[in-house]
Symmetry: C2
Subunit: 100 residues, 2 copies
């Protein structure tokens, strides 16, 4: 139960990562990805965001090391790479979406 105050640098890193989740469709994309790999067009469908927006978002997340992409025939499958992202989404689910 210690009150752990983060450093300024930690706040910068974590808040930078949180920006990716602070948008309804992008959060949905990440939640969908915690259930397993998905193609760009599947994520487009599941999130309601445009092709371009989804592709741009995934590209950015890949550059940040949060997701991985693998081409398989004509599809590109994305999946979560950084385990902290998965943990974070799970925490969000527990805190905000739990059915008590």
């Amino acid at each position: 139960m210690s009150k752990n105050i983060p450093t300024q640098e930690q706040c910068e890193v974590v808040s930078g990562l949180l920006k990716n989740l602070a948008h309804p469709q992008r959060l949905m994309i990440l939640c969908q990805l915690t259930a397993g790999p998905k193609t760009v067009s599947e994520l487009e469908e599941l999130s309601g965001a445009s092709q371009s927006a989804v592709s741009q978002f995934l590209g950015r997340m890949k550059a940040e090391g949060l997701v991985d992409a693998t081409r398989e025939t004509q599809y590109v499958y994305y999946e979560i790479k950084d385990p902290r992202v998965k943990k974070l989404i799970q925490s969000l689910d527990r805190i905000f979406c739990a059915n008590p």
Copy 2:
């Protein structure tokens, strides 16, 4: 270990809340508040943000029901009201700042 996919509405609510944490100084303010109530000027000092910025941020968070304010003599003490915010900050600490 169920893969709980949120609704679009849940994503809107949660991502809206996450916007408050997706900024280094605002995240710092919320982390400081998890350790107990603080005045505006204390938070100004602790976060490095300007008086106006801190006040605006706290006002917005209060309007959203995330924090509470109580005036005590000439100072206004802010504290976290929504227990989910506290839980979220604790999760962030565990996931991103844990010393293993």
